[in-house]
Subunit: 334 residues, 2 copies
DNA sequence: CTGAAAGCGCTTACAG
DNA sequence: CTGAAAGCGCTTACAG
């Protein structure tokens, strides 16, 4: 492959001029510009990103650290990140952390060595110390959902609490008179916020009891187990708000096995708005996060930070929307 | 950050020796090794991958080009790729091609500039010309499913034809007497092979007719439409083999809307073994590809090629397994 | 077993 | 508007 030196020789100018032309930094005479253009074309020259990285400290590469791409929530997010990254000429390295701090740290070390330009953190275990660690190295970072304590990076998240309230209110309006909640891992801020939203909506109601909140793990199996527990303790439940769609799917499965009809006997609402919700039978009502948009925004923020046009760290809270489907349909509508 | 020069100075040896120590190339005296170790530790030295890339032409980075990570088939594959890559110290860049040749070519250009060590191609539009283009540049490449004509790269795929035959035979055994097939895009080899498998199994049967094969697009909506078409033309169909799970999900949805009971009136079988198949109601019978394993194998092959311990290009055909579920259950078993 | 030196392919002041 | 030169942080023959 041709190098910048070859181009310089062929065009009859210096390497520096080629570089200036390529990066549009500094003026280049129109005539020499033409010569350069021609030389580049005939040589089929492509500048080496690696050399650029070494010399200029910019690799046009960002990293996306997420818990697990197999979790149905993340593919759409990842797609959005890659889409906007690529339109800005960035390339994305993707890392599965399994929400393990150790893996995250290992990746961060690796990424630093690669002179990565920035990191999108969609993982939950990043603590203050780690974030500072990254910041010390001057690597821009933007987080999803979780804000690592001090305002060390921008954060993009949905209105989880409000969304949860919406979900419960929708269940109430659909005729539910006793609504339970299956919550996700307590160390996840999303799970906490959704739990709060549930409490906001029901704590003043006569039937409310803390035993209506049971733990799940944000996975299908957790939703199934929690549902069994729930109906064992409270056979009169007629509404379940699951902290995410996967658990809601588990709920639907469990109810089906128990031969409890949805939405006739029990109505179910999830949270997230993943594709799977729509293919369920009955179709699952959910509070949809703007997943693709979240990915797009977080990427744009990061790129702005990298390119220096953003130096404040703010929290962006995105609106959620209730998507009513069959699983919460009123009897009258049937 | 400390550089190799700092380490050399502190350890009182030359840069070359540090490099040799780091790369385990050439002998290093035990005493100086100790000094080097200490120096590295006190300086917290981490070699720059970028500099290594420039000097040594190895970036320890591979690319995964797939059509769309949002397609439920790919997350698990991507996860496998990343898992094995990371255990071998490689990092993975992921690219969504949407099966568009133009995007693929753009990516390849970009990746070449980044001195990527190798490419995994899970996309379908790579043609002979492109593959040669890559090969000319000496970038190792391994493909999924599709072999670009001449044996220019290794290929990993499942036994699609055999799997399709298995599916149809299973439907026959389950009591079906007229089985239709919804096939995927004709330019995809997987779709072609599965169609052949279907034909293998049914073409000698009395009821066989080419009109029992209708096109889908490998997506849910395609499965729905095809199913409607099918039942319109052949109301007596009692079995449908969809070319992939997404279309089978569409089939289930369409049948539900038409109030046709599965598996009582019509039995349905898909292909792929994605997670979604299991959450359907009724649960979807499918021919499962070893998705994770495919990703793992393809990655190992690529890394072997990169590291020079593999120079032949072969085709690896992996076994598929029929996973019988509710959607094909015999009446007797109900 | 170890060092000096060239080179990987760029960018970036500094002069002019 | 343009060039010479140093530098980014490594690796790799080549000597010794």
């Amino acid at each position: 492959m041709a190098t910048i030196r070859d181009v310089a020789k062929l065009a009859g100018v210096s390497v520096a001029t080629i570089s200036r032309y390529l990066n549009k930094t500094g003026y280049v005479n129109i005539d020499t510009e033409l010569k350069i253009k021609k030389a580049i074309e005939t040589l089929n020259y492509e500048p080496s990103s690696v050399a650029r990285g070494l010399a200029g400290k910019q690799t046009k590469t960002i990293a996306l650290i997420l818990p697990d791409i197999s979790n149905p929530f993340f593919p759409e997010l990842a797609r959005a990140v890659e889409d906007v990254a690529s339109t800005y000429g960035y390339t994305v390295i993707f890392c599965n952390s399994d929400d393990q701090g150790a893996k995250e740290r290992t990746y961060i070390e690796l990424l630093k060595k690669k002179y990565i330009d920035g990191i999108i953190f969609a993982s939950n275990t990043l603590n203050k110390h780690d974030a500072e660690q990254i910041n010390v190295n001057g690597i821009p970072i933007v987080c999803l959902d979780r804000a690592p304590d001090n305002h060390i990076c921008s954060v993009v998240r949905s209105k989880n609490r409000e969304g949860a309230r919406l979900a419960v209110e929708h269940l109430l309006e659909s005729g539910c008179r006793k609504i339970a909640h299956i919550y996700g891992p307590r160390d996840l801020i999303t799970a906490q916020e959704r739990m709060k939203g549930y409490e906001d909506a029901v704590k003043s109601l006569p039937w409310y009891s803390p035993s209506l909140m049971v733990p799940g793990n944000f996975r299908i199996d957790g939703g199934m187990q929690a549902t069994e527990t729930l109906l064992h303790g409270h056979p009169d439940i007629d509404g379940i708000f699951a902290g995410n769609d996967l658990m809601a799917i588990g709920t639907l499965k469990a109810l089906h096995r128990m031969q409890i009809r949805v939405p006739d006997q029990v109505k179910v609402c999830g949270f997230d708005g993943i594709q799977m919700a729509e293919i369920m039978e009955p179709e699952l009502t959910t509070v949809a996060q703007p997943i693709y948009e979240m990915g797009a925004i977080v990427s744009r923020l990061l790129i702005k930070k990298i390119e220096g046009s953003l130096d404040t760290n703010e929290i962006y809270e995105l609106d959620v929307t209730l998507v009513p489907r069959k699983s919460t349909q009123k009897e009258a509508q049937l």
